[in-house]
Symmetry: none
Subunit: 218 residues, 2 copies
């Protein structure tokens, strides 16, 4: 895989570069948004690692530009813990995953591996679950030809089930999947979103296992 790393903290940038290189990927490391744009124009990347605090602007802007240009390259955002609201913005803007700084390099490797499995393996994975057709890379769902729109949160929740079909997933696991570390949820948000997903995608898409969690039948 060829990876573009956009990060202006030199020490962290080097560490990430070393790690990824050691795993056999090709890394281009740039420190500004403008350099990143240049690189993205001239080269095809399989993955972008994007810091949000950059000298010439916010990484979010770059992400938005990338998506507006119709590029589907997966983007993983690297963000500091105190900018959790960025997470939402990023999800809305089309990020694929998040890492909260400081993070473990092995954690980064795992996410990269996940992305490479999800995308590189089959460039346009079309899942079929029941009557639903799901295009993971484009965040599109359709049933019988008509497309269904999910909001960022709804998609994030749905994704948790897609990744582990048939598996029982507890509410706290779902919270971990939806919310950045440290975010406290003090209501039945998960239940509400389960309800919305069912309404949009079909009542029998998600099975309740009372007291334990939810499961999407394979």
């Amino acid at each position: 895989m060829r990876i573009l790393l956009v990060e202006d903290t030199v020490g962290l940038g080097e560490a990430i570069q070393d790690q990824i290189t050691a795993e056999g990927h090709a890394v281009d490391w740039v420190e500004t948004i403008s350099h990143a744009e240049t690189s993205l124009h001239s080269t095809h990347y399989d993955l972008v690692l994007l810091d949000l605090m950059l000298p010439d602007g916010s990484g979010i802007e770059l992400l938005i530009k990338i998506r507006k240009a119709g590029k589907t390259v997966p983007v993983i955002i690297l963000t500091a813990r105190d900018q959790i609201s960025d997470r939402i913005k990023g999800l809305n803007a089309g990020a694929d995953d998040y890492l909260i700084k400081p993070f473990d390099l092995s954690e980064l490797s795992a996410r990269i591996a996940a992305v490479s499995r999800r995308y590189a393996g089959n460039p346009n994975p079309l899942l079929q679950i029941g009557p639903l057709e799901i295009d993971l890379s484009k965040h599109l769902i359709s049933r019988a030809g008509t497309s269904i729109n999910l909001t960022a949160r709804e998609w994030a929740l749905f994704e948790a089930f897609i990744q582990r079909p048939g598996t029982l997933i507890s509410k706290s696991q779902l919270e971990d999947h939806l919310y950045a570390f440290g975010t406290e949820i003090e209501s039945n948000t998960i239940e509400v979103y389960i309800s919305r997903l069912r309404k949009k995608l079909g009542r029998d898409l998600l099975e309740t296992v009372r007291g334990l969690g939810y499961r999407m039948p394979c």
Copy 2:
């Protein structure tokens, strides 16, 4: 295997870390409950080694939290000899094994090996018991293709038998398995649940040993 070591005695922590690392496992060593929680949130562990006397509380509390969150990660408790009553609490809270300090490092290795055989060996254990197929990780039971739903309590009880097939298990042991330390049961609840399990899973699944307990034939 990736192992989380929660231990605040520096000397002991180092010794354990060295030993485990030498055996090829990955160890994350933290010294407080709050750090342990952080790590558990961000990373998947195959095993937790948990000291009970920690600067910011008792390891038991952490263990209870882990189990309440529905996580089944195996936990081995490291405790001093004079806190044996903790042993009871720990077992009730869902610990998998115990080591009394001071312990031999080779003893620790043996326990870790046992756990790794039990869990990591078959990541998706599919048990076959009589006509039943049991997928432990997915909490699924099926007989002749049709799936059977168990409630949380029923599953917990069934689990006790799965873990020790062929073994005679007394009613009080089953109560210990089902109920948190301190919960008093003043009725024939266990009998009722045995009855319910038999109804759902088959009459001859569980054998009554009058006056002593129950046994699941292997």
